[in-house]
Symmetry: C2
Subunit: 485 residues, 2 copies
């Protein structure tokens, strides 16, 4: 062993020191490192492989539903950013500015894109002439930069982050709203079917909408430490951007009309939620949907059994590979089985397959589930089907645990004190009647750093209580208070 | 028709006005538009779809040969860029600098990455401890920015361009050289098997290597106008970067050794070569490997035959889709068949399938090859196999035409006058004996704007002539002179 064991292991506690534990898991599972510039990270292959799989799922769904990928410049001229005033007010404080090209100062500063409405919408305006050109649905996978001066938290808070941003134009409100809901539904599906995290879906309150949006809808995921992660947002932009950039079209009756637009984005923050939700004090835990290796085979041998064990293990590997399972046979000579167990647990491989002389003799395999360590011996006949079933079971275990966290994490409150007490004690979501005024969020924010992360999607839904829990005026809707990442 | 026909058609001539013709094809086939900032372009869905397919082919080959994708920051601190002096000398004049984050001036300027050796190698240094960590092979798909003040030519010359950059570390020269050749071979394969362009492979002369490289190898493609495109480069970097960034490892004998590194990149310039090579005065021509639609079905009907024609066409579409052909049925009501022919020709669809009352009556299909307009009638039985064969034939037609261009475009010369005369009259490559001194390239550059684009890969290959065609001293190698993009 030329690598000390303690370097591999997680030393922080998820329960008692969540922030440090998270940072340690990200680094020791080799997902990311810190970059030399504060706020930036380097995404290592094991981290990027997860993002690639998230991208592959979403991109497939987007393409099935009429979205085309494109690529717009990384820079946006300052004058373009200024054409929509809410965008400039919302993002100006966070823009990284390019001022020089080579040895020359530029005539006009260029923003490194913080989001691309201001450079995409002018082209949408050129490309649309007639109602037959609608809907127009564009998406790009890229990075954006927002110069926020907060502590770096890999995937949760970084000055540069990877995301996809979708931008669409439609004939009318109805088409654009349907689009907004389609993308929100795909984000929800990603959480449910790929990330193994049941989310809540809702709207952002008026005062926390995307700059320029008519409505911002959101997927929210509850973390085990009681904080909510905004896991993806889908915006119905009304005609704000269409008006600012002249996105009009000739309708069937030849009259010029203004298009309605949407935008929607999901970032690698979803990876942060994934890591935070499932991992534990042994390290990373990944669902089989996203794990670079779904199963690892660890052979256990002595001099006498070595050849037979390795042959048997090799056969299992071939069978699983042919069946499309992402499997790795760890036949390193210079590592003990125990060392290998720890290493693959740290790296989050969902299923461990142990193969020793007993397994060879009995034609069996020993399977160990990463999330809970459940161990069982199975017949080696029908290996591929058996492993598939176990991978599904592992997904279900992760999903069920996250669902329990969510179900236990939604509470109600009828007064300011009750909101503060409940969030202070349990975290999670607290549902309360709300008059709709941002002023009633302020005392909660000040006291326990919680905010209104969402209200119900349906604006006509009756509020949970008749009165606003803070001011006592009639409630307009139900607010979900929570601390956030 | 609410869109005037002439807007669709190409008006410039490929033969007589290549530059304007190219720009017109790019815009009218909806591949790209110019961005508001000079030197930048907007890549539209039909352009990006080609790049996605190039990416998909190469990425698959990379992964099969041990490469892992990662993502490094878009910015590089100035002090990091300065750590390898040849990099800073080579790229400093072309760097876009971020000087402000939000309202604050930064303590240190950040370069928007022109290439990532200077940010990747320090991490490679941290991640490698033992010979068991080698080889380490990283790649990223991203954009880079180089502030060159030349005329914009979409995909050929843009200040921001999309590419992949691979970065690897190895135990010794042999491993790193093998890697350099593997990637060069994959680029060559891309040109041969995907882009339908037979390339030349060779080395860049000493004075035109990548900054810091020991050897730069290149894939060169000859365009129909006689200019050479550098289509992808693979660099053996020796220990230049490993020395600058301390990339050392403990070898099997426990001694500390310096790694040898490589880097290799292919950009969307390959798309430029693709468009330039195959397209014609009717518009874009794409090989079936990369075309968003491989075949388009154009139904031809009158009132009486409409129902039968559309049913028949729909069946052909279903059959082809099920067989994995990317096919589109253009059943628009408000366009004539002739209009549709022109539009899909402009957009480069390799195969047109015409279906009218005669085809329905006879159980046939009329097929038209985009590259040469060859038209034939085939039986509709076994449609999928027939179409596959025709797509292969179309690929072969494109490849053969490009091969003829290349074969006719390589000439020899034994004197300065002969080089100048041959390039002046024919373009293409001129092979000549060369002493190895950059000074002997200068008069050719000055007179006809041609340079030495490559020398043979094998440094021991005998020069074509005994004397340098320019100075008359003994020739050290064979130089390939050509004008370039």
């Amino acid at each position: 062993m030329d690598e000390p064991e303690q370097e591999l292991g997680i030393t922080e506690s998820k329960e008692y020191n969540t922030g440090d534990w998270y940072a340690e898991v990200v680094r020791k599972a080799q997902l990311a490192d810190y970059a030399p510039m504060g706020g930036f990270i380097v995404t290592r292959p094991r981290g990027y492989a997860i993002w690639e799989r998230i991208e592959s799922h979403l991109d497939g769904w987007f393409k099935q539903t009429g979205v085309q990928n494109a690529y717009f410049p990384v820079f946006i001229p300052e004058s373009y950013l200024e054409r929509e005033k809410e965008i400039v007010e919302g993002f100006d404080p966070e823009v990284a500015w390019v001022t020089h090209g080579g040895y020359d100062e530029l005539d006009e500063r260029l923003a490194v894109r913080p989001t691309s409405e201001s450079i995409i919408t002018p082209y949408v305006s050129q490309w649309i002439r007639s109602h037959r050109d609608l809907p127009l649905r564009l998406n790009q996978w890229c990075s954006v930069v927002r110069w926020e001066a907060t502590e770096t938290k890999p995937f949760f808070r970084t000055k540069e982050f990877l995301w996809q941003e979708g931008h669409t134009a439609h004939r009318d409100r109805e088409g654009a709203w349907e689009e907004t809901m389609t993308r929100l539904g795909q984000y929800e599906r990603l959480y449910n079917e790929v990330l193994a995290i049941p989310p809540l879906v809702g709207r952002k309150p008026e005062h926390d909408k995307f700059p320029g949006a008519d409505t911002t809808t959101t997927v929210e995921a509850l973390m085990p430490d009681g904080k909510s992660v905004q896991g993806g947002t889908s915006h119905y932009l009304g005609t704000t951007f269409a008006d600012a950039f002249d996105v009009t079209y000739a309708d069937a009756d030849e009259r010029e009309r203004t298009a309605h637009t949407t935008s929607w984005g999901l970032s690698w923050r979803s990876m942060g939620a994934l890591i935070m939700t499932h991992s534990d004090d042994q390290g990373l835990v990944l669902p089989p949907t996203l794990a670079p290796e779904q199963a690892v085979i660890v052979p256990i041998w002595d001099d006498q059994s070595k050849a037979a064990v390795l042959e048997y293990a090799g056969e299992v590997e071939r069978t699983l590979t042919e069946a499309g399972v992402r499997v790795h046979l760890d036949d390193r000579e210079n590592r003990t089985p125990g060392f290998k167990y720890n290493e693959w647990e740290l790296k989050g491989v969902p299923l461990r397959i142990e193969v020793g002389p007993n397994e060879v003799a009995d034609g069996e395999l020993t399977l160990v589930h990463r999330p809970d360590g459940e161990t069982m011996t199975v017949d080696s006949a029908g290996t591929a089907g058996t492993v598939d079933e176990h991978l599904e079971t592992i997904y279900a275990k992760l999903y069920d645990a996250a669902e329990q966290t969510l179900e236990a994490g939604i509470r109600e409150a009828e007064s300011r004190e009750e909101i503060l007490g409940t969030i202070g004690k349990h975290g999670g979501y607290v549902k309360a009647g709300w008059c709709g005024d941002e002023a009633c969020e302020a005392p909660i924010k000040d006291a326990v750093a919680a905010e209104i992360v969402m209200v119900p999607l349906d604006p006509d839904e009756e509020p949970i209580h008749e009165a606003c829990a803070i001011c006592g005026e009639p409630a307009a809707e139900t607010a979900y208070f929570a601390r956030t990442y």
